[in-house]
């Protein structure tokens, strides 16, 4: 049952921006502790957003049911986040503040995010670090025992907290430990190896989900007073991405089909520093953390002959002198250099490779070089140790130790995959799909257009505009889960204290369950000719070629038509082996790819509708003479929120006009 009349109301509180959140918290309705025991909340996904939300809601006293498709909540893909988490602590005394984090995020997002949400994010950022330290998250510290910081792209301060190259792992295990405490108390009921396949709406409100037990294949009904979607991003629509193999859009897409608007699907982050692909068998791409750009310098050969010689294996990168190298980011963007935002760095790499300067066999790679950093750190360390006239070898040895301490696990990952030693020869990197800024449209309360259905973390669209800054995804996930949703959901649930338990025998549950079973039966009985991966790879190729780092109207129109064609073929000829009532990984893939095949077309439609270049969305028709993005604030300073109408091509656009009262709208410059 779809909700018919959609009205977008962001529900941003009145008042000066710095007071909105405090004043909001002071005036919302609360649920008393005794009543919280009578209220059930479903959380789908147990990454940083879902895990932290589940733990906090349970601490508050709600009965939480948490779902994840993995065999343990600890394996959600937040675990793979590497570089760090931002917070406006100003421990370095380098001029950071809540305002500056707010400003950097809005600017970094190319002025396509909602000011009030971003300011709230910046406000609670400092609390996240306090909370995580209290939970035992072992952040990096300096010799004085205080927390250390590093820099990330698009900012001029050091506000990133980190735990080597495993910050996401440590933060997720922190949230997981908080969940464990509540699981032990019986306040969280954990459903591992379960996948949400639909939402159930009763009297216009989200009242439960239909989930498949991935071990037994059983289709289950679960009811609650509110449903929280924390299922992450949809980068796997490209088939190849830095996401986990199982990351999918299904939870988000199912609520979209039942009335939740999907916002800015075309705002996708192509991360500049990933390990280049090596062959057609490739199943996923691996990120090399942005933190490496603190110390690594990005370059390609200055002369095209050298690039050709390197590609043919006749020259090595270490053969090229400084004068023969083009540090193109430092050249084009002297103020930010190698630390420009991700969208800018990715396009610059593509520009060089398209011009013929790429360095691996495919011509799609640039160098990330640590030689200068190793020598600099080595010389510093030699001085500290009081070594007189250290040899170059000694300096390199000492420098490598410092670099190993900072990025050891990343260098190890690189060596395992590429079989080259990045301490001795520069890394090869190329952009890859990494994060999706777009997602389910939510208001200030993080509620979707379905009452009682919330979306948090990467699954929503709210905070990063058209481009996310590095180390801000972890910040947003934990902000939403620990500090925002627990307040906003209470305001909604305060009206639900007399509702009582929701029965799963309601006809809405039966109907939703039958629909899910119908789809599964179709897949099992279809006995077609092609595997699910065959279709997923085809979709991914179209997305990368025509809806990737740069897009044009012609290509986008073609992409829409081609995706529709693949989708129709999929529904005729897909082959899913095995049965419905058992563990069946191919069936899991089929239900996910079915949704990607619809999302992909809406994605292209959204990119086609947005006749401007901003952040990660680069339309070739809209660029400056120097090849920089040309934004159109007069016509496109809005959030595109799409309403489902059956075929993705028929989706209806609703616009949320963005207002910039506290930050002046101006062209983003990192020069």
């Amino acid at each position: 049952m779809a909700i018919s009349s959609v009205k977008l109301d962001a529900k941003v509180p009145e008042g000066p921006i710095a007071d909105k959140w405090t004043s909001y918290k002071n005036h919302i309705d609360l649920v008393n502790p005794a009543n919280k025991r009578l209220i059930d909340v479903i959380v789908v996904g147990t990454g940083l957003a879902g895990g932290s939300a589940a733990a906090t809601l349970a601490e508050l006293g709600y009965n939480v049911k948490a779902f994840c498709y993995q065999d343990s909540p600890r394996r959600a893909h937040s675990i793979a986040a590497q570089g760090g988490i931002n917070a406006a602590k100003n421990y370095q005394g380098d001029g950071d503040s809540t305002y500056r984090l707010f400003y950097d995020t809005v600017k970094g997002g190319d002025y396509r995010s909602r000011e009030a949400n971003v300011h709230r994010l910046a406000e609670v950022s400092a609390n996240i670090i306090d909370q995580c330290v209290a939970q035992g998250v072992p952040f990096a510290r300096d010799y004085g025992g205080l927390l250390d910081n590093r820099s990330f792209g698009g900012v001029l301060v050091s506000r990133t907290f980190y735990a080597k190259g495993q910050t996401g792992q440590q933060l997720l295990l922190g949230a997981y430990s908080a969940m464990n405490r509540q699981i032990a108390r019986g306040k969280i009921k954990m459903f591992n190896r379960h996948e949400m396949l639909d939402i159930v709406i009763v009297d216009g409100k989200a009242r439960g989900i239909i989930a498949r037990n991935l071990v037994t294949g059983e289709i289950e009904r679960h009811s609650a007073h509110a449903v929280v979607i924390a299922s992450g991003g949809y980068g796997n629509v490209y088939y190849l991405s830095t996401n986990a193999m199982g990351s999918n859009v299904t939870a988000g897409w199912k609520i979209h089909k039942k009335g939740a608007l999907f916002a800015n699907p075309c705002f996708t982050q192509i991360h500049p520093t990933c390990i280049p692909r090596s062959g057609d068998y490739q199943s996923k791409l691996t990120l090399m953390s942005e933190s490496l750009r603190n110390d690594g310098r990005i370059w390609v050969p200055k002369k095209i002959e050298d690039a050709v010689a390197i590609r043919e294996g006749k020259k090595k990168p270490t053969d090229l002198s400084e004068e023969e190298r083009d540090y193109y980011l430092e050249r084009r963007y002297p103020a930010f250099g190698n630390l420009v935002p991700r969208d800018v760095a990715s396009r610059a790499a593509k520009e060089r490779c398209d011009a013929g300067f790429g360095v691996n066999k495919t011509g799609e790679a640039v160098y990330l070089d640590f030689k200068a950093a190793i020598e600099r750190y080595g010389a510093e360390k030699a001085t500290v140790m009081g070594l007189k006239d250290p040899s170059h070898e000694k300096i390199v040895e000492l420098g490598e130790e410092v670099v190993r301490a900072k990025y050891g696990n990343l260098f190890q990952m690189y060596e395992k995959i590429v079989d080259e030693d990045p301490y001795k020869t520069p890394m090869m990197i190329y952009p890859a799909t990494h994060y999706t800024m777009g997602g389910i449209w939510v208001d200030y309360n993080l509620m979707t257009t379905i009452p009682g259905c919330y979306a948090i973390g990467e699954a929503n669209f709210s905070d990063h505009g058209a481009n996310r800054l590095g180390a801000s995804a972890l910040m947003q996930g934990l902000a939403d889960g620990y500090f925002v949703l627990p307040y906003t959901i209470g305001d909604y649930l305060s009206k639900d204290i007399r509702t009582g338990r929701i029965s799963t025998d309601l006809p809405e549950f039966v109907e939703a369950e039958n629909k899910v079973k119908e789809q599964i039966d179709f897949f099992i009985n279809n006995k077609g000719t092609h595997s699910v991966d065959y279709y997923h790879k085809k979709l991914g190729k179209i997305m990368w070629d025509k809806v990737g780092m740069s897009r044009n109207a012609q290509g986008l129109k073609e992409a829409m038509a081609e995706i529709k064609e693949i989708r129709e073929d999929f529904w005729k000829n897909v082959s899913v082996p095995g049965k419905a009532d058992e563990m069946n990984p191919e069936l899991e893939k089929a239900t996910r790819v079915a949704d990607f095949l619809e999302l992909g077309e809406l994605f292209a439609k959204d990119a086609l509708e947005r006749n401007e270049s901003c952040g990660g969305h680069f339309r070739e028709e809209y660029q400056t003479e120097e090849g920089e993005a040309l934004r159109d604030d007069v016509n496109y300073a809005y959030v595109s929120a799409w309403e489902y109408k059956g075929e993705p091509a028929d989706a209806v656009l609703h616009k949320e006009q963005l207002e910039f009262k506290d930050i002046e709208l101006k062209t983003r410059s990192y020069k």
Binding site: I79, A134, A163, S177, T242, Y281, S283, Q412, M413, E582
Partner: protein, 251 residues
């Protein structure tokens, strides 16, 4: 390269399993081990057979989903590596590779190569946390300086990915390395010190109830751990446990 694979197939937890032989051809050196498994599965699907089920997700060595006993070793022949990070360049043309699930009583097989590691979660429920609520007004993160050496050791212990290779490598299927990593992480930090003894007692109790064996001091766990978790953690847990056992009030 062309390979012969001998893979454990088992329909579900109840039915008996056995080794089945498969051939894969033209495997590239640059493929990861799991990409080689993808090739096999695509082949099986196209032949109308059921693909081999195995756990995997991030494919970059951090989520801990992948497991597999490869030629008798958890995560295969390469040191410091999860199965998903293992590359085919470690094998030769014509090799026969045995692929089995991790074997332990506490890790029952779910299907083919997929095992149930929920015992690990239950051990964490028993005490793998610091009892602090989310309030937004905990003290400032820099209020308690922590010596870098302790913070670094806590971090090293905390990098455990919960894959279970330690259990699979141990002749007693002991989970001491896994449990001690969490006990150590928190015991090394002032925030976790408060509950350190109780935590050790509770987690060890749960570990025993799950059917994991005793530590033999062989060190196979450390040798096979893809993250290099140190045996030192087991010594630290034993210290916490003993001191707790002597001092704890009988409850």
């Amino acid at each position: 390269m062309d390979l012969t694979l001998k893979i454990w197939r088992q329909k579900n937890a109840e039915e008996k399993g056995g080794i089945v032989e498969y051939k894969v051809n033209e495997i590239s050196d640059h493929m990861s081990f799991l990409e080689m498994m993808d090739v096999l599965n695509e082949q099986l699907i196209n032949e109308g057979e059921e693909p081999v089920a195995f756990d995997h997700d991030c494919r970059e060595g951090i989520c801990g989903s992948c497991s597999l006993h490869i030629n008798g070793e958890p995560h295969g022949p390469d040191a410091g590596t999860t199965t998903c990070q293992l590359h085919m360049r470690k094998f030769k043309d014509g090799d026969t590779i045995f692929i089995e699930p991790f074997r332990a009583k506490a890790f029952p097989v779910v299907k083919d190569l997929v095992i149930d590691r929920s015992a690990f979660d239950r051990i964490q429920h028993a005490g793998g946390y610091i009892s602090v609520n989310t309030s937004g007004n905990t003290q400032d993160a820099n209020a308690i300086p922590i010596p870098k050496v302790d913070a670094d050791k806590a971090f090293d212990a905390a990098t455990c990915i919960g894959c279970g290779a330690c259990v699979a490598a141990c002749k007693n299927a002991s989970a001491m390395l896994f449990v001690s990593a969490k006990v150590s992480q928190f015991a090394l930090l002032p925030q976790g010190k408060v509950e350190a003894e109780e935590r050790a007692l509770n987690m060890v109790k749960q570990m025993d109830e799950e059917g994991f064996g005793n530590c033999t001091n062989t060190g196979a766990c450390e040798a096979e751990c893809p993250k290099g978790i140190s045996l030192e953690n087991i010594a630290r847990m034993n210290r916490e446990y003993l001191s707790a056992a002597f001092s704890a009030d009988p409850q």
